[in-house]
Symmetry: C2
Subunit: 510 residues, 2 copies
Amino acid sequence: MVPTEMDGRKLTAYQGAFANPLGKGNRAAPPIPRSFPAHAGGENKLLKDIKEAILKTGLKDGMTISFHHHLRNGDYVVNMVVDAIAELGIRDITLAPTALFPCHAPLIEHLKSGVIRNIQGSMNGPIGEFVSYGNMPTCAILRTHGGRVRAIEDGDLHIDVAFIAAPCADDYGNANGVYGPSVCGPLAYGAIDAQYADKVVIVTDYLVRFPCLPISIPSTHVDYVVKVDKIGDSNQIVSGTTKITRSPARLFIAELAAKFIKESPYYRDGMGFQTGAGGISLAVTKHLGDYMRQDGIKAAFINGGITKFAVDLFREGIVEKLFDGQVFDTDSIDSFREDLWHHETPMTMYANVHSKGCLVNRQDIGFLGATEVDVDYNVNVNTHSDGLLLHGIGGHTDVAAGAQLCMIVIPAYRKRIPIIRDAVTTVTTPGETIDVIVTEMGICINPLRKDLLEHFKNSALPIRDIRDVKKQVDGICGGQPTPPKLGDRVVALIEYRDGTIIDSVRQVLK
Amino acid sequence: MVPTEMDGRKLTAYQGAFANPLGKGNRAAPPIPRSFPAHAGGENKLLKDIKEAILKTGLKDGMTISFHHHLRNGDYVVNMVVDAIAELGIRDITLAPTALFPCHAPLIEHLKSGVIRNIQGSMNGPIGEFVSYGNMPTCAILRTHGGRVRAIEDGDLHIDVAFIAAPCADDYGNANGVYGPSVCGPLAYGAIDAQYADKVVIVTDYLVRFPCLPISIPSTHVDYVVKVDKIGDSNQIVSGTTKITRSPARLFIAELAAKFIKESPYYRDGMGFQTGAGGISLAVTKHLGDYMRQDGIKAAFINGGITKFAVDLFREGIVEKLFDGQVFDTDSIDSFREDLWHHETPMTMYANVHSKGCLVNRQDIGFLGATEVDVDYNVNVNTHSDGLLLHGIGGHTDVAAGAQLCMIVIPAYRKRIPIIRDAVTTVTTPGETIDVIVTEMGICINPLRKDLLEHFKNSALPIRDIRDVKKQVDGICGGQPTPPKLGDRVVALIEYRDGTIIDSVRQVLK
């Protein structure tokens, strides 16, 4: 269900994972800036506070501002900037963050008062819920990691001012995430904003003597720098350690998934895979490491989302290289800062279908989560069965399209609610790009993957038809859940990575 | 003497170092590419040879191709590609390399036969000489390092196909210059070409398993990869070691320059400077290191052109960080590969006046060479007093504009030809951006720098008026050299870093 127009923008419906109907024309062209030295009138970029920066950038009613989410649920910068915008009396702002978290709940007041008019970006938690109930006057747009950079590079999403939280920076705008009290690792989500926004403001709490190295965001892209007391709560930015699931059912899912990978044609010396930070995903990674160690083979790379589990395999030499778009724990930050072959991956390199070669295309294997899957292998990661929009897409759809073997590793039900549905509440990732779904009930191979079905036909693994599994789960849970009460109004669009609209999210009626 | 139009392009004359009359509008917008995985019809980028790559890129008569010069006088790639273009019957090509060297003399045959119609880039040696005599049907354009990237980013120089020599690459196009038989260090000159050219071809002689790390050129910017037997002669790419001058006169110049720096307001903890690979420049660097060691102060960075002398100071801890656009010896390559704070500097970061903050603006000190200077402090680095165009600009004009203290360190005469002239044969770098000229005859401070004249008024150093020095040199040499016999035809334009034309080079009559 995709509208043909929304908030004045003409929409193109999804036409297949690689139809790419919008891949024409030229990229966006930012304004030509200038760079003069101080002795020739070059401005000092270091300003006294956020308000001065907002005024200097010329931010006005109706403009679009952006943020990255490397500080996750510990971020102070989004609220700080929007508060200042509100105090300056600026209204009708479009917020285009990579993602918002529960810590950003104070934005709800700014939505109510009209300071914020639109959000384009992931909304994890309360703001998603607020939008679900139809409380935003415009329609949200959710994009994948690769889809967001595509939208910016292609000119679909124009950012007037990017505010980039930086754990470490110099007064010229060179910035990184690896030194200071609020370390977060890479600044890979902010790279495209720095490159394309008309104006770019670095917000840091750790100003170092010029030049700041390493450079994740270069001075060539930065207009202003502001030093604040604190950009975030370090306890919430990354966890001290990431932990493997202890649930026996989930450990069993991980074991099944790892065994499936080992038997697949993709388990080989030189393979590359992606692993997230979820409990099941970590357990799969650990199993894979054990297999590789036993078999004496090495993975060429992990593409991530990096955790201590990936770093341990890397430092042991079982995995040769790490590509890092974000980190989830402090050990990973240490490795990211010190190890030459632990490489920062800007999102366009990670997953932009409108680049000349993104990393997800070279992944052999990806294992991903879901809130729901359906018997056509469609995956929902955005809404729950109650219709509430509570999660962003992340790189889910990108990895599914790129990886040769894309596996969903999930429990078959949660709190007596079946996860395998007749039809998912929201299609985030199209079934044609999902190869395998692994639950504690067995392993389901997408019928489109005849090659995999053939390869596994004599396997001792519990390969099952997804409709049979669904029937069994429905039996355990007492049937499919009651559909949520939805209104007609579309409150959010799910944009596929190529810019088409794959689904829409309707208002939840209370 | 600047024409108002050339080869169909309307020219704007130089209007002052920071007048910036062309800094308007938007940057160039390359075509939107696409990136599909192999299982969805994504092409294999690895092609069998250069000819296949040329055909795949769609290169046609009249198009523009580019190259970087990191392989210097050891480069095989330029000749290899242009030979293949000639064999394919393609003509009227514009060559836009960062620089050509004597090893590229075979291109002269392609100029004669009409395969090459125009060159925009530095021409060191025989090709410059060939152009000087009026043998190219069009007018050459010489740009500074910063000016070339500006021209590409602003859309003045559109590159149809960039051929990027890469000492190390994978089959997806990720490339670096630090592994393999033909190492050259950074690939910083090629970065902008990769970003803006319609098509990009990596040419390597060392193909590694995906993924190639570190990444100087990312796969996101690369269309094709070709493996050839050899991309260059490693003995000519970098020297084993760079050597300090042994000439007593030049050592004296270096000593004067270093003493001047030490007495200047710019000699302080946290300063940044640039040093080249010339014999005098290396000697200044060495002296500066000695002073800093004695005085217990540290430089924050060297911006370069990196040599063993810079690396030694860096590893000793006297210099905290190295910015590296090119290396001149093998020791520097080792440091560049291994040291986290030895950072690759793409040219737009180095010196683009149309960026938001380039490095030269943050240099306290730069010491540079010249073929001639004049009593108005204008500098020529392109032509000799015989009018022949034998050298490129490099970063000369960029550093002069950016650095707070720009010093020219040169002998007052060479082979009985005065280097200090009434007027330079060609204005490469405007006198208003040159602060000090140091020769063995003394130190001349530009009268525009009243602050420096005041600062040094009680100095024991031999501070002299440049007209007095010139008079003395003329006495030694028997007067100024006979002016060359020049025709009316303009054979090359000297483009200032902001895109205006600061001077033109006229045909030399035999």
